[in-house]
C-alpha cells in the first residue's frame, strides 16, 4: 500500500534518512521503532511531504507522494498525528474535528464551518473515542491526554485508509494507553492500515503485525515482533553494546 524506495533526506550535510526502503501492507499495523534521533519522525515528515526528500521515491497506491504538495496527500486518504499534539487551542473541539472539511478548493468552502452532517460525524467519532463529554468544551481547557485522543479523533474524522501516528502513547497514563490500544485494534479490524512510531515496546509488541527498526537514518531490521526481539543488531542499536 505504501512503498518507500531508497528515500534519503539530509539537513546541511547530516543524513537524517539514509536510503530507507520498505513496504507497508494494507490492513496491517506496522510500527517504526528506533533510538531517539534515528530519523523516524523525519521519515514521517517526508511521507507527508513536510520535507521534500533528496532522492528516492515514496509511492502510495501507484501515486508518487514525494512529488505532491502536502495538502493533496491528506486528500488521498492519508491521515497523520504529531508527536507533540498539534491541536488548535483557539478553535472549539468540534471545529478541530471538522478541520479536514475545509480542505481543498471549491464551493464547499462557502458552507457553514460546521454543518449538521459534520456535527453528527464528530459526535460519532467522539463516542468511538469515549470523549463525548468534551464536545462543547474549549480546546485550550483540555488536558494533555484528552488532546491526545482528540488528535487521533481529528485524524479519524477524515476517514483515512492509511493512518500515520507519531507516538500515540507518549506521555499518556496506563488506562488511556489501554484505551488507545483497543481503538487501534478496532480500526485495524475495520480495514484501516496503521503505521506508527512508538517507544512503548509493550504496545508495539502487542499490536504490531510488522516492526521496522531504524537507527542512524537506516533501516536495520524488519520483521514480526517476535523476530525483532531476538535480533542482535536491534539490541545493539538500543543498548549501544555488543552484549
Amino acid at each position: 500500500m505504501l512503498k518507500i524506495n531508497n528515500a534519503t533526506k539530509s539537513f546541511a550535510g547530516i543524513v537524517a534518512v539514509d536510503g530507507c526502503s520498505f513496504e507497508i501492507k494494507k490492513g496491517t499495523i506496522s510500527a517504526l521503532i528506533g533510538p531517539n534521533g534515528a530519523g523516524k519522525t523525519t521519515l514521517f515528515n517526508c511521507i507527508s511531504r513536510i520535507y521534500p526528500i533528496d532522492s528516492g521515491e515514496i509511492i502510495y497506491k501507484d501515486r508518487r507522494l514525494d512529488l505532491m504538495p502536502t495538502h493533496k496527500i491528506a486528500r488521498l486518504g492519508i491521515g497523520r498525528s504529531f508527536q507533540i499534539t498539534r491541536t488548535l487551542d483557539h478553535l472549539s473541539v468540534t471545529e478541530n474535528l471538522v478541520l479536514h472539511t475545509a480542505g481543498g478548493i471549491g464551493s464547499h468552502l462557502l458552507l457553514p464551518a460546521i454543518t449538521m452532517e459534520n456535527r453528527q460525524k464528530a459526535g460519532e467519532i467522539m463516542e468511538f473515542l469515549g470523549i463525548s463529554a468534551l464536545a462543547d468544551m474549549d480546546m485550550g481547557s483540555l488536558s494533555f491526554g484528552q488532546k491526545k485522543l482528540l488528535d487521533l479523533g481529528t485524524v479519524l474524522m477524515a476517514d483515512p485508509e492509511l493512518i500515520l501516528l507519531d507516538e500515540p502513547a507518549a506521555g499518556v497514563n496506563l488506562r488511556l494507553l489501554e484505551d488507545i490500544i483497543e481503538k487501534l485494534v478496532t480500526l485495524k479490524n475495520q480495514g484501516k492500515t496503521i503505521f506508527l512510531i512508538e517507544h512503548n515496546m509493550d504496545l508495539v509488541m502487542e499490536i504490531s503485525d510488522e516492526v521496522i527498526v531504524m537507527s542512524a537514518g537506516m533501516i536495520i531490521a524488519q520483521g514480526q515482533p517476535t523476530e525483532i526481539q531476538k535480533n542482535a543488531e536491534v539490541l545493539d542499536a538500543y543498548l549501544g553494546t555488543n552484549a
Binding site: 507527508s48 513536510i50 504538495p69 502536502t70 495538502h71 493533496k72 496527500i73 491528506a74 486528500r75 497523520r80 504529531f82 498539534r86 488548535l88 487551542d89 483557539h90 478553535l91 471545529e95 471538522v98 478541520l99 479536514h100 472539511t101 475545509a102 480542505g103 481543498g104 478548493i105 464547499h108 468552502l109 462557502l110 458552507l111 457553514p112 464551518a113 481529528t154 477524515a158
Partner: protein, 307 residues
C-alpha cells in the same frame, strides 16, 4: 440601523455637517478595519500596508473622474476589483513569509507605492489629482458619501461575519495558528491566504474611491501614509481582532476618544498621547481586545457576540 439610515434627516433642522462627517468617517474606518480583520484577525497576517488598496481605489476612480468625468460612485465597484487584483498579485509574493517578516514586507510595500505615486506624473505626482466638487448645497453635499459608505460598511460587516462562520474562515483561522497542521489536514494554505488577502482589499479599495471624491483630491501624502493602516490595525486590536464585532467597537471607541480630546484640548497632539495611553491600558486589561477579552471571561453580552 434604521437610525443610521434616517440620521441625515437632521439636516432639515439645521446644519449638522460635523455630526454627519463624524458618522461617515466612522463608517469608513469600520469598513476598513472589518476588511483588514479578515486577513489580520482571522488569518493572523498583520499587514501595516493595507492602505495601499485604499490608495489604489482612490487613484483609479479619481483618475477616471478627472479625465473622463465618470463619478467615483459608479466606478467604486471597479476600484474594489482593481484593488483585489493587486491583492492577489501582492499576496502571492508577500504571503510566503509570516510573522515579523510579513509585517516588514507590508510596510515596504507601502513605501514602494508612496514613492511610485509621488513620482508618477500621469496621476499628478506628489500633487495628486484634484477632483470637481459636487453641485449639492453645503448641507446635502456629504449625503451621497454618507450612504455610499454606509452600504460599504454593512457589506464589510456581512463579509467579515460570513467569512468567520464559513469553512473558508475555519481554514483561515487554522492557518493563523499552525500552517503545518493545516496543510497536513488537507487545507490548501497558499490559495486560502492569498484569497483572504485579496478579499480584504476589495471593500478597502471601494472605500478609497468614495473617500477620494469626498475629499475632492487624491494625493500620495493623504492616501499612502502609514497612519491609515496603523489605525486599521489599532482599531482591530483595541476591539478584538479575529472577532466580528471587535473592529466595529474598536473603531467607534478610538474615533470617539480621538475626537473628544481634539474637541476639548484642540490640535495639541494630546489626542495621540491619549490614543497611546488607551492602547497600553487595553493591552494591560484586555489583552485580546475589548470584545475578545470579554468573550474569554464570558462577560460578553449576547447582542455583541457574533463569533
Amino acid at each position: 440601523m434604521i437610525s443610521l439610515i434616517c440620521l441625515p434627516i437632521v439636516q432639515f433642522f439645521g446644519n449638522y455637517n460635523y455630526v454627519i462627517h463624524m458618522v461617515l468617517f466612522s463608517f469608513l474606518y469600520i469598513t476598513m478595519s472589518s476588511s483588514w480583520n479578515i486577513i489580520g484577525g482571522y488569518g493572523g497576517f498583520i499587514s501595516i500596508g493595507h492602505n495601499v488598496f485604499f490608495g489604489i481605489g482612490a487613484y483609479f476612480s479619481g483618475f477616471i473622474y478627472a479625465r473622463y468625468g465618470i463619478s467615483p460612485f459608479y466606478t467604486a465597484v471597479f476600484a474594489g476589483m482593481i484593488a483585489t487584483v493587486f491583492g492577489f498579485a501582492i499576496g502571492l509574493i508577500t504571503l510566503r513569509v509570516k510573522g515579523p517578516s510579513f509585517i516588514i514586507s507590508s510596510i515596504a510595500l507601502l513605501m514602494i507605492f508612496r514613492t511610485l505615486f509621488d513620482r508618477w506624473e500621469l496621476v499628478g505626482g506628489a500633487h495628486g489629482i484634484t477632483l470637481p466638487h459636487n453641485t449639492l448645497s453645503v448641507e446635502w453635499s456629504k449625503i451621497p458619501h454618507y450612504y455610499a459608505l454606509l452600504i460599504l460598511m454593512v457589506l464589510s460587516i456581512y463579509l467579515s461575519w460570513y467569512v468567520r462562520h464559513s469553512k473558508f474562515g475555519l481554514a483561515l483561522r487554522s492557518i493563523s495558528h499552525d500552517e503545518i497542521k493545516s496543510e497536513v489536514t488537507g487545507i490548501n494554505i497558499k490559495i486560502i491566504k492569498v484569497t483572504a488577502y485579496a478579499l480584504s482589499a476589495y471593500l478597502i479599495g471601494a472605500a478609497g474611491a468614495i473617500w477620494g471624491d469626498y475629499l475632492t483630491y487624491v494625493r500620495p501624502n493623504i492616501f499612502f501614509i502609514i497612519l491609515i493602516a496603523a489605525n486599521m490595525v489599532l482599531m482591530c486590536i483595541l476591539g478584538g481582532k479575529g472577532t466580528v464585532t471587535g473592529p466595529i467597537i474598536g473603531t467607534i471607541v478610538m474615533i470617539f476618544i480621538n475626537e473628544f480630546i481634539l474637541a476639548n484640548f484642540g490640535a495639541s497632539e494630546l489626542n495621540i498621547f491619549f490614543t497611546g495611553l488607551l492602547m497600553i491600558l487595553t493591552l494591560l486589561y484586555f489583552p485580546d481586545g475589548i470584545i475578545g477579552s470579554l468573550k474569554k471571561r464570558k462577560l460578553l453580552p449576547g447582542f455583541l457576540d457574533w463569533g
